[in-house]
Amino acid sequence: MSAAAALSALPGRKSILAPPSKAADTAFYALTFAMAITVLALVLIVGVELFRGAQASIHSFGWRFFVGANWDPVNNDFGALPFIAGTAVSSILGTAIALPLSLATAIFLTELAPAWARQPVSTLVEMLASIPSVILGLWGIYVMVPWLHDALFPLLKRYFGFLPIFQGPIGGGYCMLSAAMIIAIMIVPIITSIAREVFRAVPDSQRDAAYALGATHWEATRLAVLNASTRGIFGAAMLGLARALGETMAVTMVIGNRPGFSASLFAPGSTLASTIANEFVEAVSDLHLSALFELGLALLLVTIVINLLARLLLGALGRKTRLGL
């Protein structure tokens, strides 16, 4: 049958198609819209519930909550400073440890690695990210901390013991430094991944210009890529820090869980998240619970601020990547 003959064999022009339903279109739009709006609602809900729960504590302590050093459930006196300090120290130190390693890995992956090695190494780094916190904590308790306690900490004490951070008894090894190290392990993947994006964003023409001047591979990387990426690197570090702030399980399992201050990294400590995890279920009083809510609120606000800062530093890249993952 030729094309023309086939055409003339078509039945009459009356349409066999069903009339479209405007209602279905509107209904689907409404459904998807409603589902999308839930995230806006959730943001509100989180804020409201934390605030409401923290009301009693806010009312009782006001600003003293954040500078008070005494966390005393028995006497209903709550000051969050030890946990704020603990969170700050463990997270910042963890980020400081992770940052150079992540950057070096990112450089390796974007600039220096042979083509066949890139995918496998990058896949492995991603796998590191998929280890659940509690499993890393388990490994931390029974493998990492014993090793730190037996091998690394004595070394640090021997050669750097003059520094106040390395003074004091090593104890069981469940301490701030262990927490910082386990945090570092957990945030390396995200810093590496963002840093890779930052480096990839540097146009090849920059690298070419450096090579044309006779630079070696490393010199070209330093001149063209690293110099241009300072803001991005800070942004990546911020994202790592934001992630570090929220780590709960692995940190709780190796930090020693003793509220208090110490200049020594070998001393046990607590973070905002670990305290909430440890005390929430068995809160002694309503005020205690409210104080824990306020800890949660503080944690959330700090995390949001750091995330926003990171987003700012990363510019367009920050809007593209899924932050906080």
Partner: protein, 280 residues
């Protein structure tokens, strides 16, 4: 596929704004499309100026002109696809067989069933087989009877001169076909829902000469039953397959006339410059 407004062409005799009517049109048939005073914008930028054109039924009307002159935009106004672009705005009247296309109560979905479209870059649905691609328009518009779907599948594939080449692999993924075959598949897909008009936006521009020849042959066969409006940047193609040709330039319709006349004895200097290759 935005139309860039061109700067004023350097002609010796500036022409008044074009409101060309095709002349003389054969037959007393009601024109399929009657476009009057069509002005089109993308946001603040106007891309079509006061277009007036009649498209004759059961004939091929070719739209030619240099890149960016508004050909594709014009085409997309004929099946209400233009309004999908962000910031799209339109004034004027477009009538399909006497009905105002842009009247308030008109459902664009219904219009698009009557006015089909084939795109410049063939776009068969990748997650579906050849057969599913052809029948998807019918299925999603309520046709369920398997026998009818099967019948229409074969008919439209024959109409698109594709049946013999794919009849043994109807269940193969659509992307396994060659470029030219994919485009003919898209034509079959458009034909399956029985449109009255087929709009074609440079359908062969990405294809090799052999595939192009097949498409042109197809157009010549189809025009006996359908009205066809085809945008093309290939003047030889326009002269081969169309009865009426409309020449667009910088968003204005310069001239529309019987193809032979437009190419051999155009009325406007600009048209002559373009068809003789002095610019473009």
């Amino acid at each position: 596929m935005t139309s860039q407004p061109q700067t004023s062409p350097n002609t010796e005799n500036p022409q008044p704004v074009a409101t060309a009517q095709p002349r003389p049109t054969p037959g007393p048939d009601q024109p399929t499309f009657e476009v009057q005073g069509l002005n089109v914008w993308f946001g603040e930028r106007q891309v079509l100026f006061d277009i007036c054109l009649r498209v004759q039924p059961k004939a091929v009307t070719a739209i030619i002109g240099p890149s960016g002159c508004g050909k594709t935009t014009f085409l997309r106004c004929l099946n209400r696809m233009h309004e999908l672009s962000p910031g799209a705005r339109l004034e004027g009247r477009v009538r399909l067989l006497g009905e105002d296309l842009y009247a308030r109560q008109v459902d664009p979905t219904l219009i698009r069933r009557r006015v089909g479209m084939v795109f410049q870059k063939s776009n068969p649905f990748p997650s579906m087989s050849v057969a599913d691609n052809v029948t998807i328009g019918l299925k999603l518009n309520g046709v369920r009877r398997k026998s009818l779907l099967q019948e229409r599948l074969e008919q439209t594939l024959r109409m698109a001169a594709l049946w013999d080449e794919v009849k043994d692999r109807l269940q193969a993924n659509a992307l396994s076909l060659s470029g030219g075959q994919q485009q003919r598949l898209c034509i079959a897909r458009a034909l399956a829902i029985e449109p009255e008009v087929l709009l074609m936006d440079e359908p062969a521009s990405a294809l090799d000469p052999q595939a192009t020849a097949k498409i042109e042959e197809l157009v010549l066969q189809l025009r006996r039953q359908l009205t066809i409006v085809i945008v093309t940047h290939n003047m030889q193609q326009a002269s081969r397959i169309s009865e009426i040709t409309a020449f667009f330039y910088a968003g204005k319709l310069i001239e529309a006339d019987q193809t032979k006349k437009l190419f051999t004895n155009p009325s406007h200097q600009q048209t002559e410059d373009y068809v003789t290759g002095r610019f473009g």
